[in-house]
């Protein structure tokens, strides 16, 4: 048997397409975890990153936080939170947010720092207010890098939300974990295919967003 046969068998089985354990339900759950975690992480990381990047203060502290957060094993943290907090949204969200904040924070900071100072000075010289300098000059130039930070955060969340199934949560990881326990390899490979497809769709989505939001002037130069 080859992996492609398993994938084919999984997707052609109509039992996998509806009900509580159907692909639409699990996909929806996975999407919900991902969007919530990304939303919280962006709400924390983006403003702090923009502000520290704009003022240029606190870079070392941010680098330190990012290194420390990267050393934390997200899977272990998820299991730990689960036994400390029990069944609920928090044990999944805390590790996912901890995982996603550092790339967003550090990349946003570095993106703001790497903006050419000449146009920023020119904007100030033209009498732009600080907030206008931030949002109308620095932000558009820094946008490609900021998006790449959000992208890597989103992909890591999709990947790690899979593991939430181990501590009894839903999402696409359910197929992999249940399949492993039930020795149903068809289910395992089907789940893995869905997770990989979702990660690659995320990648494509961010590429498309960058295409439409980054101004042509910035894109051409990069």
């Amino acid at each position: 048997m080859n992996v492609l046969n398993f994938i084919n068998a999984f997707f052609s089985d109509s039992a996998h397409w509806h009900g509580y354990d159907g692909i639409p339900t699990r996909l929806g759950e996975h999407l919900q975890y991902t969007l919530t975690a990304l939303g919280i992480a962006a709400a924390v990381g983006l403003p702090i990153g923009l502000l520290t990047g704009h003022t240029g203060r606190g870079g070392n502290t941010l680098a330190l936080i990012a290194t420390a957060a990267r050393a934390l094993p997200s899977f272990g943290l998820m299991v730990l939170m689960f036994i400390l907090l029990g069944l609920g949204m928090a044990p999944v969200m805390i590790p996912l947010v901890v995982l996603a904040v550092p790339p967003i924070l550090v990349t946003t900071y570095e993106a703001m720092r790497s903006v050419d100072p000449a146009p920023v000075d020119a904007a100030r010289g033209m009498g732009m207010a600080e907030s206008a300098v931030l949002f109308r000059v620095e932000l558009p130039v820094a946008l490609p890098l900021i998006l790449s930070g959000l992208r890597s955060a989103a992909i890591q969340i999709v990947s790690t939300a899979t593991i939430a199934a181990y501590v009894s949560f839903g999402g696409l990881g359910r197929y992999i974990i249940d399949g492993l326990y039930q020795r149903d390899y068809e289910k395992v490979v089907g789940g893995a295919t869905l997770v990989a497809a979702m990660a690659l769709t995320t990648l494509a989505l961010f590429w498309a967003v960058a295409r439409f939001t980054v101004s042509p002037g910035v894109r051409g130069r990069g």
């Binding site: 899977f75 550090v106 993106a111």
Partner: protein
């Protein structure tokens, strides 16, 4: 005190045995990734048009979730440590290729010309001039690869208890022993920080010509790229 590190017998290992296993399972793939990345990166430096497609492939490979990668390999390599180590080697390769390419490309043209004028052949020039100058960039890549590898080994627990310290997570759950879960999480984090510290030390040793305070500015653009991965 000794009770703190007592392990359930079914793991058939001591705590520090698991730590050693964890290190081996995390670092061997990085080493394999480095050995593969060096020729690939050299090829990308030599054949310029090759680099953008290679970068695309690496971005896509890196996006594939580890658990999905593991379980697809089960069919070929079984429920073993190898199944965990192959994806980790691929992730390391993916992190290291851009780091090495950027490092080797940052060597100034004059330096290369000077080496050639001194009679260095291409191989000697690569080993004695390009690689040492690229060392800080390569080690920055190694740091990211090692730390994420140490963290990801734990996930191997899900496929037939091949996760070294990660196996403690399962033991802690089935035996209701939060202590084991703490041991796993803290142990893995400390391991990651120690490996990171050793690599920083290695960079200081390998690049004695760099001022210690001034290294930050040089490695900074790389830090952005890595954070962006």
């Amino acid at each position: 005190m000794s009770e703190l590190f007592d392990m359930p017998s079914d793991l058939q290992n001591t705590y520090f045995g698991l730590v050693a296993l964890h290190l081996r399972e995390a670092l061997l793939p990085v080493l394999a990734g480095l050995l593969l990345a060096l020729p690939v990166a050299q090829l990308c430096v030599r054949v310029r048009w090759l680099y953008p497609p290679v970068l695309w492939v690496t971005t896509v490979l890196y996006a594939i979730p580890s658990l999905a990668f593991f379980v697809v390999l089960i069919d070929y390599t079984g429920l073993s440590e190898l199944t965990v180590m192959i994806p980790l080697a691929v992730y390391s390769l993916v992190v290291l290729v851009p780091a090495i390419v950027d490092g080797v490309r940052s060597v100034p043209q004059e330096t290369l010309a000077a080496a050639t004028a001194m009679g260095f052949g291409p191989v000697r020039r690569y080993l004695q001039v390009q690689l040492p100058i690229a060392a800080p960039a390569i080690i920055a890549g190694l740091r990211v690869a090692c730390v994420s590898s140490v963290s990801l080994v734990s996930v191997g627990m899900l496929i037939g208890n091949a996760g070294a310290l990660g196996n403690l997570l399962n033991s802690g759950m089935i035996y209701h022993q939060p202590r084991l879960i703490w041991l796993s999480v803290v142990g893995t984090a400390v391991l990651a920080i120690l490996v990171d510290a050793v690599l920083i030390g290695l960079r200081v040793l390998l690049t004695p010509w760099m001022p210690r305070g001034g290294t930050r500015e040089n490695t900074r653009p790389l830090a952005v790229k890595e954070a962006a991965r």
